[in-house]
Assembly symmetry: C2
Homo-oligomer: 134 residues x 2
DNA sequence: CTACACCCTATAGCAACTACAGGGTCAAGC
DNA sequence: GCTTGACCCTGTAGTTGCTATAGGGTGTAG
């Protein structure tokens, strides 16, 4: 399996596959006589794992941990659970942040009276022209 | 006003203030005899504007546009409105993405039976071990 | 035999900072 | 008068997760 095929099979870009290899997330595969990367099904499984985890928003560092954990199949999956739960909390935090930001921006927008910049409440909200310059 | 004071007044880090100057967002201030940056109230107003816009999630490029627009006080604020509305749409998209991701991750997490990694549904979901290796 | 798609390495770029390294300046305290 | 410490300076490299480019080699179809 050449890199382009592996990439296509996992909806990944070729450069990204090479990048994962460079940062040690994907094991370097064998090479053909022409120095082309030759992947096997283990690589495909590994990269699929990585992509799925990435799609779920895990950082590469978290993916790295998950991969390590998943390699020791007899260990408790508590650590796995912890990583996922931590990630969920982080997502909730981000959603909360964005919602707060959304309502603030929405408020600013609704105050716009569509006149000149001089009257613009959006600009006004951003830059409260100082009443007293020092 | 020295850079540390300006930074403190706007809850910005000193390095960030210098960074804004470097990328042309904040005008270079006068210098003291010791080559220290000496800021005036205009700089304070400008940096406050930048920080508020950033807090609302505008990109630096959007901030740059908003600053340019806000300098021409007689112009229509339509362009300002457009930038803000575009940003709002973008925020909504991000919230949607995160919510979808959240529900997916939540589903994965709830399937965890807290046994060993070998049974772990989280790992299993991420890496469906191929039934037939090629 | 010559296009063309694919592969290789190595490096730089993106956003928006942040963190050094390696210096200079200045006010206070002994 | 000298040192300590907090501040300031420039310039560069690091962060995350890729993506893009330059400048080349390989393999196959017409």
């Amino acid at each position: 399996m050449k890199i382009g095929e592996l990439a296509a099979a996992t909806s990944t870009k070729v450069e990204t596959v090479r990048y994962y290899e460079k940062i040690g997330l994907l094991a370097p595969p064998a090479r053909t006589s022409a120095n082309y990367r030759a992947y096997c099904s283990e690589h495909l499984a590994r990269l699929s794992f990585i992509r799925r985890a990435r799609d779920l928003g895990f950082t590469l560092e978290a993916v790295r941990e998950l991969l390590t954990l998943s390699d020791d199949r007899s260990k408790s999956c508590e650590a796995v659970d912890t990583i996922a739960r931590t990630h969920l909390i982080e997502i909730d935090r981000k959603i909360g942040d964005l919602k707060a930001l959304r309502s603030e921006l929405s408020r600013v927008l609704s105050s716009c009276s569509h006149g000149t910049v001089d009257d613009c409440k959006i600009i006004g909200t951003l830059a409260p022209r100082p009443k007293a310059l020092s």
